[in-house]
């Protein structure tokens, strides 16, 4: 019976909690039991936070008893290892931050705590969110709950796997080039990246500041929508935080797709390396949406072939600057007994950073260095303009853009670790949304060879409600919903 509590959506759990048929403490017990049984196989979590869940569950049960209703009261959540939680070790999947206990809590997390959520633990991710498989974690790789020999995607692979395995009802991730949407697709759950500026980045360990956004993983579009609405809205502690009201993400999102125009970019539809099974699942999803009264229209994003190249200048350039702070002086790993300060920097960073971080810092430093700045960084920023204009043009012909989230289903562990470029290509359909600042959602749309496929819906900036509307209409009409994987 308690195991059933780990299969609920937030909406269902909320109802049971309010009726008093289960308590927040029961929710925790059910999830902890399932984690103890499955996580040794899935390895979604890096660490657990009993000191938080005990306190938060007791508080939730007290509030429920007093008749208070909050949207996430008693709901168990997991947090990616890049979002600071006061007093809880937060390491960005890296050795260089081992032992770091933040003195403050990220705004996005705090808002979920304020809504009554219970924190179960910290989820695994690629080091500094750099990667598409969670194999770049400096601790261990996370496994895909649907096939333990395959990756969960990344970089928020631990969060996606936790939700897919019933080890959390909601998880937070971050998306810089696809790090929420791609693992959501590969694990068969819903994942949403909001418009740049919608959710505060305060307390997020920065990777690429002009691209990073925080967003939710859930097992239904409704759950993702409610969690996103709670996290959204102005925060004076993030200079790029929008003043638009957070609740607008829910505007009219249940209205269905009748009369909507859905753009199918030919460059995405026929992207190089797309698997036939993925394409078939997308074709079937488009048919469902047409049956619901949407019109699909042919659109073009002509600079798609240049997106990856622009992204792999801009993101590493920003990361090389953001990661300069890891010098062994104020926190984390340190070679404090080095003979001089330069040796301290070099040794700390040699021991603390893994291979992918080194590659990106080198690439970014090169692209920003004197003599190469115009040819690389400035050029990439100009191409970013062209990519944004592609989307602006496409959105003149359609209300939202639909495609596969990932060209492939989950791949075996180790399949792409020796060839960085092949790993980077995992994000070819998602990183355009980051470069253009768009909101995007991935929803489960069936399987290929028994593995989940994700449908991506991109909307114009501030159009989260449009993306959610298409995703929800698809979910409702197709009856394809996120399932809980039983793993073993």
């Amino acid at each position: 019976m308690t195991d059933d509590l780990t299969r609920l959506t937030v909406k269902e759990a909320h109802r049971l909690l309010r009726l008093g048929s289960v308590s927040a403490a029961d929710m925790v017990t059910a999830h902890v039991e399932r984690i103890e049984r499955l996580d040794p196989h899935v390895k979604a979590y890096l660490r657990f936070t009993p000191e938080l869940w005990e306190k938060q569950a007791a508080e939730a049960d007290r509030l429920i008893h007093e008749g208070e209703s909050r949207p996430l009261l008693g709901i168990p959540i997991a947090i990616k290892d890049v979002l600071c939680v006061r007093g809880v070790e937060t390491t960005a999947g890296s050795q260089i931050l081992k032992g770091f206990r933040p003195p403050y809590t990220a705004t996005a997390v705090q808002r979920l705590f304020d809504a009554g959520a219970l924190m179960l633990g910290v989820t695994n991710c690629d080091e500094f969110a750099m990667g598409s498989s969670t194999e770049n974690s400096s601790y261990f790789p996370t496994r895909n709950p649907w096939d333990l020999e395959r990756v969960p995607g990344g970089s928020s692979g631990g969060s996606a796997a936790a939700v897919a395995a019933g080890e959390a009802m909601i998880a937070l991730g971050t998306d810089t080039g696809g790090s929420i949407r791609q693992p959501a697709a590969l694990c068969g759950v819903v994942g949403m990246k909001p418009t740049y500026g919608r959710v505060s980045r305060y307390g997020l360990i920065a990777f690429a500041s002009s691209l990073d956004q925080v967003g939710p993983f859930a097992r239904s579009v409704d759950d993702a929508a409610v969690v996103l609405s709670l996290m959204s809205g102005f925060d004076p502690l993030d200079a790029t935080s929008s003043e638009r009201p957070g609740m607008e993400v829910l505007n009219n999102y249940g209205a269905g797709v009748k009369g909507m125009r859905l753009g199918v970019p030919r460059e995405y539809y026929d992207v190089k390396g797309i698997e036939p099974g993925v394409k078939a699942a997308i074709d079937a999803a488009l048919a469902v949406l047409r049956m619901q009264g949407a019109e699909t229209v042919d659109v073009s994003l002509p600079h798609t072939d240049y997106g990856l190249a622009a992204y792999y200048i801009i993101a590493p350039a920003e990361c090389s600057s953001n990661l300069a702070r890891f010098d062994g002086v104020r926190y984390g790993l340190s070679e404090v007994d080095a003979p001089n300060i330069t040796e301290q920097y070099l040794e700390t960073r040699r021991k603390g950073f893994g291979g992918e971080v080194l590659r990106r810092v080198m690439l970014g430093t090169y692209a920003l260095s004197s003599g190469y700045y115009d040819a690389y960084y400035l050029k990439a920023q100009k191409v970013r303009t062209l990519i944004k204009r592609d989307f602006d043009e496409a959105f003149k012909k359609c209300d939202a853009i639909v495609s596969a989230t990932s060209p492939t289903v989950a791949f075996p562990l180790g399949a792409k670790t020796q060839d960085p470029l092949s790993m980077y290509l995992c994000d070819v359909l998602t990183l355009g949304g980051n470069l253009a600042g768009l909101p995007g959602i991935s929803v489960p749309c069936g399987t290929s060879d028994g593995l989940p496929v994700g449908l991506q819906v991109l909307a114009p900036q501030w159009g989260e409600n449009v993306a959610l509307r298409v995703a929800r209409a698809y979910e409702e009409a197709s009856q394809v919903t996120a399932q809980v994987a039983d793993v073993v």
């Binding site: 206990r101 500026g197 200079a239 104020r330 040699r350 590659r359 062209l386 960085p420």
Partner: protein, 85 residues
């Protein structure tokens, strides 16, 4: 050296080869004529915001030093920054 990265001796060639492959892919950007295209640094229009310069609560010295690998007398301790003469 500019990036202050220490690399394991012997790994230089491994990284050089991988980075060459990535740069080769990136070189396709040069095919595009961007002479009259403005760069995008910030993708969403947000007006620059300044707050009043007023004192407000922040971390205490103790909190700021709590994660320090080495602290002495309320300072972060680092190795010598100048050569001994």
């Amino acid at each position: 050296m500019l990036a202050r990265l220490g690399i394991e001796p012997g790994d230089e060639a491994y990284y050089a080869e991988q980075l060459s492959g990535i740069l080769e892919h990136i070189d396709r950007l040069q095919q595009l004529d961007t002479e009259h295209i403005p760069p995008t640094a910030q993708v969403v229009e947000v007006a620059s915001r300044l707050r009043e310069d007023e004192p407000r609560p922040s971390l205490t010295q103790e909190e700021a030093l709590a994660n320090a690998p080495a602290a002495v007398n309320g300072f972060f301790r680092v190795p010598s920054i100048q050569e001994e003469t």
